[in-house]
Subunit: 355 residues, 2 copies
């Protein structure tokens, strides 16, 4: 493989010295970019983009071509590829978000679920990873990802997005054994899926626990964190002579950082409700931190964006161990110029913290 | 006024000894009750219920008549009465939530906003409070309430509900002076509104900061908590020879409990993501705590509800200072029998912690 020209992102995740704080944006290949909207229109729809390695590669590269400041690429895909490969029938209804043709309701439904083979059942993702990795040609590292077991379970049990996770929580409280079996199957599936991505070329992986933060403190430990820990312990952590860092991101998980930091990952993603300096003090040297600007700050003017970037950098303070990011995905209505102002501000304002 | 027959709720808020942990449910007068749905159909719509003191009293009493375990009544009203009284034109679109005819966008819009007079402009709320208080006849205490300035501001700037508070946050970051003026006017309005409710008979008041938990840690302090603190310092804290406790509830505010506990209120509301025992250790003797069962536990079977109530009581531990509640309002789809099982479990299982 080609040598990596920019390894700031990987170094910061391992708390090794860097010149400036590395930065990327969750959902950086997305609808706020006109070039993305054009590719998507050409591909037909969102899943056609994901399932075609050439298209997935094209949109993954778009933000890198526009913003030279980006220190990482992230595989263009969906968090729901695993349930789809389990036979649940993922589809997207315009304006409605993801839906599944089948819904998981009973223990029998769960027992019948297969564990997908990443190469046989999710080959399009493995192909996208190797295609992107080749196209990157060492420019920046490539991040692979998956949804967390709990997050995937909510979509499978609800049949799509949900406001209050009514059915999933009823199963959790009424039938915890069934829920544990589902989560265990998902943890096995995520482990081999992420290992497949790593072997195909992903140089770091992130687990998105989008909905774990909606659980009670006790239920989070038992039904979300325990399964992420299991995944982390089963991941390939070194490839091609280099460490493959693992990032855990539980949105709204700020209350539980101490326990998440014990899960064995290299870094934790933070949403914007945490003060990052306070988070650093709480997790100590155990993990690096990724985040955490409120993505809606990008609706404000570039000067205001720059001020907020400066505030977050000052809060983190001196030294490595910080990957700058938004606290959640960039939203479709953001002006791409504002995203550029954000990325430039991170590099320009962070040098002083790495002298 | 008639002597209070059941003062557990008020005593627990002041950390005075009680026989069992008092309990009420946010949105206890609501759509999950068939008798509520009947009253609402008769009144015509939601705002007609709120604006007619007889109807507001009728629906406030309904859960008390059904559940003898309830230790408090809460005024039936909406959090958006203040912006409506400021001339913003509140209305409800079926299935769409609250909307405003006018939207606050500029400094000029904010400068033009009046501070409503509770008696002249919100007389229907004052009348509802005194009517309910009379009807309660000392059965349980009556809670008055208001939305927090930040929460009210989000609806006024967005023109209704929002997913990401795009316009409100753009104003906050681009034009903080304008946002501060809006919040200051709202804090003045909330103070006199709550004082009006107290003089009309409310025996405790709660400030609902539904959306403060969506702010960054720094913005929360400056744009939400500071204004709640201002309100608390202006409230009438004793009436009719009895303390009038104040409860602050920031949903998703669990990260910031230490600073919220310094705001001068008697109690903090907790959502279910906090472990209540951990929260108690963090706030010490400063405040009582209210909460915090995940409302979706009510979708589970009565045995599971009872287990979860027991877990929360054990986590809080021995002694007064806990008002049991859900971590958010009860949802329309809950079976009223399950709500009953919840309320009974709180009284039955909590006696051992007050011996």
């Amino acid at each position: 493989m080609t040598a990596l020209k920019n390894d700031r992102f990987l170094r910061a995740l391992l708390k090794q010295p860097v010149d400036v704080t590395p930065v990327w944006m969750m959902r950086q290949a997305g609808r706020y970019l006109p070039e993305y909207r054009a590719s998507r229109a050409q591909a037909g729809d969102f899943m056609s983009l994901c399932m075609n390695p050439e298209f997935a590669c094209e949109v993954t590269m778009q933000p890198l071509d526009r913003y030279p400041q980006l220190d990482a690429a992230i595989l263009f895909s969906d968090i729901l590829t695993i349930p789809d490969a389990m036979g649940q029938g993922l589809y997207f209804e315009t304006g409605e978000g993801p839906r599944f043709k089948k819904v998981v309701s009973t223990l029998a439904d769960i027992e019948a679920l297969p564990i997908p083979d990443p190469h046989k059942d999710l080959g399009y993702v493995m192909d996208a990873v190797s295609t992107i990795r080749r196209e990157l040609n060492g420019r920046v590292p490539l991040i692979g990802f998956s949804g967390s077991p709990w997050t995937l379970a909510t979509y499978m049990v609800e049949g799509g997005s949900s406001k209050d996770f009514r059915k999933t929580k009823a199963m959790l409280y009424d039938n915890p054994q069934a829920m544990h079996l589902l989560l265990d199957k998902l943890a096995q599936s995520v482990t081999s899926y992420l290992n497949g991505q790593i072997m195909a070329g992903a140089q770091a992986v992130q687990i998105f626990d989008t909905w774990g933060g909606n659980l009670s403190a006790a239920a989070y430990q038992e039904f979300s964190l325990a399964y992420m820990k299991k995944i982390v312990s089963g991941l390939i952590r070194e490839n091609d002579g280099r460490k493959v860092p693992v990032i855990l991101f539980t949105k709204n998980g700020g209350l539980w950082l101490e326990s998440i930091a014990e899960a064995g990952a290299d870094a934790l993603g933070l949403d914007w409700t945490c003060d990052i300096g306070n988070a650093r003090a709480r997790v100590g040297d155990k993990v690096a931190l990724q985040g955490n600007m409120d993505p809606t700050v990008l609706y404000a003017k570039p000067e205001a964006i720059r001020t907020e970037v400066g505030r977050i950098l000052a809060s983190y303070g001196k030294g490595s161990g910080h990957v700058f990011n938004l606290g959640h995905g960039i939203t479709p209505e953001v002006d791409p110029e504002h995203a550029g102002a954000f990325l430039r501000a991170v590099h320009e304002l962070s040098a002083q913290y790495h002298e």
